[in-house]
């Protein structure tokens, strides 16, 4: 492997950061609750057992940071309906096993539908180039995957290609979570990779609106610990600011070309996020000039009525940062990676899947 200095995993540095966190938590004299909004942060925290060494009085919870998990059930139903109507549906691997109202894409595939796993929007467009059938790309994810979807549409994909957009934009969801009366948050860790597209300025409005510090963080254990130090320093000083703690990848202005593509193709509209309910302007819809590629406008999609079916799955509560995977009665018993009940156990970015894979932090 690379050296410790390059891999941001050095135990001595981690110890020093931990000591600083301990002093800072004592200085703010409180019970500090930090929310991160990214499955990759959750994975770093779980893989390295970071929660086991956080000082008493500092809690780090995961918020709506798993794109597969926040994809709403009716969106899955639309993809299933298109697959069952005989079209080729291409999507990211994680989405295939997420349960819809009646079935998942995997179940549709088992029953004969043509559902393909792809690694990118351009791969889905390539499938369309090799067939006369309609190919629908079920597009999920945040800014990091929405920008590449936009790029494919701008390049003029084949006429038999369309996009079923479930893309979402994170900053407004942070607002919704911060506003929620049942969720107490003292600061956010923002996802470093999404910020490579959006830049850091986008978080200024979150800071202003809620008077909460936001730190853009990377994904190695030292990145996470250092970002927490910055966040607590802000809290100690009573300052709410945006800090870029991941400058080796993130420019404050973000990636201009990716952003141009993103907003030329997509507009923000109200939409449902699983668990967080309606977010006013955080679902990405394809704009008018690209309407011919919008699967919702190309096809009549009939989906089953949401039966509001009761389940003990608390994925929604977890996504909103109000519960942890081990609070769920199904966790590890009725719900496991091999027979998941909720999306949080399906996706590699899902907090339940991550807890399960990494065994959980050592409990005292």
């Amino acid at each position: 492997m690379t050296t410790d200095a390059l891999s941001f995993r050095d135990p001595d540095r981690a110890d020093r950061l931990r000591d600083r966190l301990e002093r800072l938590v004592a200085a703010v004299d409180g019970d500090v609750r930090v929310m991160h909004v990214c499955g990759s942060h959750e994975e770093a925290i779980a893989e390295f057992g970071i929660r086991s060494v956080l000082p008493d009085g500092l809690t780090v919870a995961m918020g709506p940071g798993c794109p597969v998990c926040v994809t709403d059930r009716p969106e899955v139903d639309e993809a299933v309906a298109l697959a069952e109507a005989g079209h080729v549906v291409a999507t990211y691997g994680d989405m295939i096993r997420v349960p819809g109202t009646e079935k998942s894409l995997a179940a549709a595939r088992d029953a004969g539908a043509d559902v393909r796993t792809v690694y990118s929007a351009s791969e889905a467009a390539d499938i369309a180039r090799e067939t006369d059938r309609e190919v629908v790309f079920f597009a999920t994810g945040f800014e990091t995957t929405a920008a590449p979807t936009a790029a494919v549409l701008r390049e003029g994909p084949p006429a038999n290609f369309s996009v079923l957009s479930a893309h979402k934009y994170v900053p407004p969801a942070m607002d919704v979570v911060a506003d929620h009366p049942d969720t107490r948050i003292d600061g956010f860790l923002a996802a470093g990779h999404a910020a490579t597209v959006t830049g850091t300025d986008v978080f200024e409005s979150v800071v202003e609106r809620h008077d909460l510090p936001v730190v853009v963080a990377g994904f190695e254990p030292l990145d996470v610990l250092a970002a927490l130090v910055f966040l607590l320093e802000d809290l100690r000083d009573g300052e709410a600011t945006v800090t870029n703690a991941y400058p080796r990848c993130v420019a404050d202005a973000g990636n201009e070309r990716a952003r141009t593509a993103l907003w030329e193709v997509f507009e923000r509209v109200p939409g449902e996020w699983r668990g967080i309910a309606q977010v006013p302007d955080a679902s990405l819809r394809i704009r008018e000039p690209y309407a011919e590629y919008d699967a919702r406008r190309r096809f009549e999609i009939e989906t089953p009525a949401d039966d509001g079916r009761g389940s003990d799955c608390i994925c929604g509560e977890i996504m909103a940062g109000r519960a942890a995977p081990r609070d769920c009665p199904l966790f590890g018993e009725a719900c496991t990676p091999r027979s998941p009940v909720g999306a949080c156990m399906v996706s590699d970015e899902g907090p339940c899947r991550i807890q399960h894979a990494y065994g959980g932090d050592r409990r005292p």
Partner: protein, 342 residues
């Protein structure tokens, strides 16, 4: 009657494998041996110990299917010989009497290929001094197996009570691993998927009997297991489970080859959860641990031996992984990480 079917995940050496064994096999054949010095099926150890009047016989058997049958660092013949010799060694039987070998071949397989696999098997047997004494060959129709299935059985004689039970650890015992983990599983996955990495990935498949023998010469070895299916993570969980003790593993002490670590990161798998075929994990009395490690380092295949953890009375049955940054539990991998690699 149930409508359940066997899935690939049942064969991945994980929790599901244990469930299937418990359901189908242990219920039927799991009666404890009459002689307390014996080890039977219910122990789910690496082999059985059958006490005799003047000692004990150790016996173990294993079927080997691997995709691809020939891979960087070895082939199914070498794997079949090493797998069984190593299971005997993990029981403390380091001087096997001989092997049996049953080969099922798919019609249409070039004879040269089978010849090459048997050459590989013979080379290992010569080195260990463990000849193949009996065998069987069957040919099945095209498509009924994927080229070849090799089943080997090994027999050894040991002194009464000299076997190494999986449950032998005591609090304070150190865990010693004989070399880098995960090489076999990662090399196989890369070969199967045709991934090419800048650094060559090579399976570690090799006999470990001499390592176990060398360790026992210089120190008190209390437990042993070879981390094959399910890898190091499964092996240490089995040791913790069998002894009903906790284990603490220092993740940074567990050796992982640079090439394997890099490829595993790219493939999104944890090298601790994939198979080794030329390593042994030993429980060693604390005062002897450094001596055993140093002795292993003098042996072929033991150059990177390390002390990687210790047994504790806390958290019985669970393995705590100290990552250098924090601590978490190291679970047995669930489901099908890598099918058919051993």
């Amino acid at each position: 009657m149930t409508d359940r079917t066997v899935t690939l995940a049942h064969g991945a050496g994980t929790e599901r494998t244990r469930e299937l064994l418990a359901d189908l096999v242990v219920d039927r054949f799991g009666d404890a041996p009459a002689d307390p010095a014996g080890v039977g099926l219910a122990a789910l150890d690496d082999g059985a110990v059958l006490p005799t009047d003047d000692g004990a016989v150790v016996i173990t058997t294993d079927s080997h299917v691997v995709d691809p049958p020939s891979f960087p660092g070895g082939d199914v013949g070498r794997l079949a010989a090493c797998g069984t010799i190593n299971d005997l060694a993990a029981m403390g039987a380091t001087d096997p009497l001989g092997l049996s070998s049953a080969v099922v071949v798919e019609a249409g397989t070039p004879v040269d290929r089978v010849d090459a696999y048997l050459d590989s098997m013979a080379a290992v047997c010569d080195r260990v001094g463990c000849p193949v004494r009996t065998g069987d060959t069957k040919v099945v129709r095209d498509g009924e197996v994927d080229e070849v299935v090799v089943t080997t059985t090994g027999v050894a004689r040991i002194e009464r009570g000299a076997h190494l039970p999986a449950a032998g650890l005591s609090p304070g015992d150190r865990l010693v691993v004989s070399g880098p983990v995960g090489d076999h599983g990662v090399a196989l996955l890369a070969a199967r998927e045709d991934f090419e990495f800048a650094s060559p990935l090579t399976s570690d498949v090799a006999p470990v009997a001499h390592l176990v023998a060398a360790a026992r010469e210089v120190g008190r070895v209390t437990a042993a297991t070879d981390p094959t299916r399910g890898g190091f993570a499964t092996a240490v969980n089995e040791l913790a489970d069998a002894a009903d003790l906790g284990l603490v593993v220092e993740e940074r002490a567990v050796p992982v080859a640079d090439a394997t670590a890099g490829a595993a990161e790219v493939l999104g798998i944890d090298p601790l959860t994939v198979a080794c075929e030329g390593r042994i994990v030993l429980g060693v009395a604390p005062e002897d641990a450094e001596r055993v490690r140093d002795r292993l380092r003098d042996e072929p295949g033991g150059a990177d031996a390390r002390i990687v953890g210790r047994a504790v009375a806390d958290h019985p049955g669970e393995v705590v992984l100290d990552t250098g940054v924090g601590e978490r539990y190291l679970p047995v991998p669930t489901g099908e990480t890598l099918p058919r690699i051993c």
